[in-house]
């Protein structure tokens, strides 16, 4: 029972970073990938069909954190209060601006929000790991930027795609450098094995991204960067053994929640997959 909930929390968190990661990347890049207002609108609209579905993985993860891991929720959020507040403020600005952008004025909260969220998650992970926060505050946005650029390479056509591809290629090396530096300057952790495995897989995926981009296998490149965005979170939380039985709710609560989770998750996966499938037909 406990194992099921650890897997579920990891899955929801992974889903959030894999999906919302490219939202923030696109939010940071769309003004550069699109040269005029019409093109920028097109770039953003390549992301927005998935937007509500992407961001809501975080809400679900937070709900599971509260319901099934009440000890961790209080401990983690109070201990990392400032980075969480920063992330949330950025998230509110970004979420609202993407949905309401009726004028280029909205790009201030849109780009600012995306940057705040990306840097904020970096700082937060750096704090939990005990590594240099500045490194993580730069590194995580680099991963999101790469993920966003690969997404745009996959979804766009014409000159905008060329620009997105150039940006994606230029970002692969900095991303590898970040992973290497994160390992080299990492603090003392409880389970160092996680860090080594996570870093090795991340580097392999980034090399894979490079070759997939070169050979035009855009969907494969997207899967590589999506997984790369997930790795830091799972690695850091695993390395510090943040999730233990002591922080979890007791069996009756978990049992009651399990039925709900097992019923809902397949539905969400089915309907989100339907959105992707439909967008393929529409493109």
């Amino acid at each position: 029972m406990e194992g099921l909930w650890v897997v579920l929390l990891a899955l929801l968190t992974a889903g959030y970073f894999a999906l919302a990661g490219f939202d923030y990347g696109v939010g940071l890049l769309f003004r550069f990938v699109g040269r005029d207002e019409a093109e920028r609108g097109r770039v953003l609209r390549s992301m927005t069909p998935f937007f509500l579905g992407n961001e809501v993985w975080l809400v679900a993860a937070a709900g599971v954190l509260f319901g099934a891991f009440p000890g961790l929720e209080g401990e983690l959020l109070s201990a990392q209060r400032v980075p969480f507040v920063v992330v949330l403020v950025g998230l509110v600005a970004f979420t609202a601006a993407v949905q309401l952008r009726s004028h280029p004025w909205w790009d201030v909260p849109l780009v600012g929000g995306a940057l705040t969220v990306a840097v904020g998650w970096g700082l937060l992970l750096g704090s939990v790991l005990g590594g240099p926060r500045a490194l993580w505050g730069i590194g995580v946005p680099v991963l999101f930027l790469l993920h966003g650029a690969v997404f745009l390479t996959w979804r766009l056509r014409g000159p905008a795609r060329e620009r997105a591809t150039r940006i994606a290629r230029a970002l692969v090396l900095p991303a590898v450098a970040f992973v290497a530096a994160a390992v080299a300057f990492g603090g003392v952790v409880r389970e160092p094995g996680y860090g080594w495995i996570g870093a090795a897989v991340a580097v392999a995926l980034l090399v894979g991204t490079w070759f997939a981009l070169r050979s035009g296998a855009h969907r494969l490149a997207f899967l590589c960067t999506a997984t790369t965005c997930v790795l830091p979170v799972l690695t850091v939380f695993g390395a510090q053994s943040v999730v233990t039985a002591g922080v979890m709710a007791h069996a009756p609560t978990l049992r009651a929640l399990s039925w709900v989770a097992l019923a809902v998750l397949p539905l969400v996966l089915l309907f989100q997959w339907a959105t992707w499938w439909m967008s393929r037909a529409a493109r």
């Binding site: 975080l58 937070a62 209080g74 709710a249 007791h250 929640l257 339907a274």
Partner: protein
């Protein structure tokens, strides 16, 4: 003000903003679903156009509902870690169900509804808006389950200094849940009815050429309000026996703020009940449009149900003090270990962002509402290119 006062104020501000958007979301999605159903059944294009116009306003309103909702979710852990430590096993359960069943599914369905416009079959697309509505109501239901537990904790036992869940169904039969949930749902429907009435009335004041479009909208709004308000008022007063039984000192504990909120809510409820029933006969032969002065009252009336809802909510929450979990956990004992400066920082940051974005959102809603049902309009936003 000390850290505790700031933490409470931050919670009140966040919840109030969230509540304002959620009320209209719930009310409007129901009416949009009704419009779309009539369109699908009758095939009359005016219903499809109504669905599109009111659906746009609904989606733009939803944007801040989700944004403030995310902060609501995290705020418990940020500022009130004592609550999750002591009562997380019980209080967290309905909250987790809400995020999974309602929020998670609702956003997924809504994304598909927006994106599926003109792409999905008529009946599939219709089913989606009803699924959005259904999950939105499920959201309200589970939030009220969680809130009722704070008002009147049931279904738990205390072991080793923390609460454990022993009876999950008891949360759903909590007398302070079963009486309040109807009141909240009916309040949301009233907000939707009054909003649709008011916006339609505005277009008649401006002598719109879309007479059929706004006549149908106005009628739907007035009839909804007239049908719902008696039940709303009834469900409101029906709560007092349960409140007197379980929180006998509520009105005294609520203080001046709570009492004023309660008074405003009751008066506004009565006025809406009376006025909506007086308006129903005037719908005959468009008397209400020809008389003109009721139209102005309808526009002025738009904020009233919002004010009433905030008033009623203040009474419910202030009347719970000094308890966070009634009789078990004091509010002051539940606060996270945060300095006054830390609390001030988050309070100012969230309040400022909410205020700016809420005003921007309302301006956008007002502009779209004034523009009316234009065909081939520019995209409202990147999210709603189809609408």
């Amino acid at each position: 003000m000390d850290a505790l006062g700031l933490a409470r104020l931050q919670f009140a501000v966040t919840t109030s903003f969230h509540f304002l958007f959620v009320l209209l979301t719930l009310g409007l999605v129901t009416l949009v679903a009704i419009m779309q159903t009539r369109g699908a059944v009758t095939g009359n294009p005016v219903h499809a156009r109504m669905t599109r116009f009111w659906g746009r306003l609904y989606v733009v309103n939803y944007a801040l509902g989700i944004a403030t909702g995310i902060v609501m979710e995290f705020q418990f852990g940020l500022n009130w870690s004592g609550l999750s430590h002591y009562a997380g096993d019980v209080f967290g359960a309905p909250l987790a169900v809400e995020t999974l069943v309602a929020f998670f599914l609702e956003s997924t369905f809504l994304g598909l509804w927006i994106f599926g416009w003109d792409r999905l079959g008529r009946w599939v697309h219709l089913a989606l808006i009803w699924l959005v509505a259904l999950t939105a109501y499920a959201s309200a239901l589970w939030i009220m389950v969680a809130n009722a537990f704070l008002q009147h904790p049931v279904g738990h036992e205390e072991r080793d200094g923390v609460l454990r869940l022993v009876d999950f169904p008891a949360l759903l039969t909590n007398p302070l849940f079963t009486t309040a949930v109807w009141h909240v749902v009916l309040a949301a429907l009233t907000v939707g009815g009054v909003f649709v009435t008011g916006v339609s009335a505005y277009h008649f004041i401006k002598r719109t050429t879309e007479v059929d479009f706004f006549r149908r909208s106005l009628r739907l709004g007035v009839v909804t309000t007239a049908v719902v308000t008696p039940l709303l008022v009834g469900a409101g007063f029906a709560q007092f026996p349960a409140l007197m039984a379980w929180q006998p000192t509520k009105t005294a504990d609520a203080g001046v703020g709570g009492a004023v909120g309660l008074g405003f809510m009751i008066q506004i409820g009565m006025v809406l009940l009376l006025v909506s029933w007086l308006t129903v006969p005037l719908l005959l032969r468009d008397l209400v449009v020809r008389m003109r002065f009721p139209l102005y009252l309808m526009v002025i009336g738009i904020p009233l149900p919002f004010i009433a809802a905030i008033g009623g909510w203040l009474y419910r929450e202030l009347g719970r003090q000094p308890w966070l979990v009634y009789g078990l956990l004091r509010t002051e004992d539940a606060m996270s270990d945060v300095s006054r400066d830390g609390m001030l920082f988050s309070f100012i940051a969230f309040t400022a962002v909410f205020a700016v974005l809420a005003v921007a959102d309302w301006v956008l809603i007002a502009r779209l509402a004034r523009r009316g049902p234009v065909e081939h309009a520019e995209p409202v936003s990147p999210l709603v290119p189809a609408l």
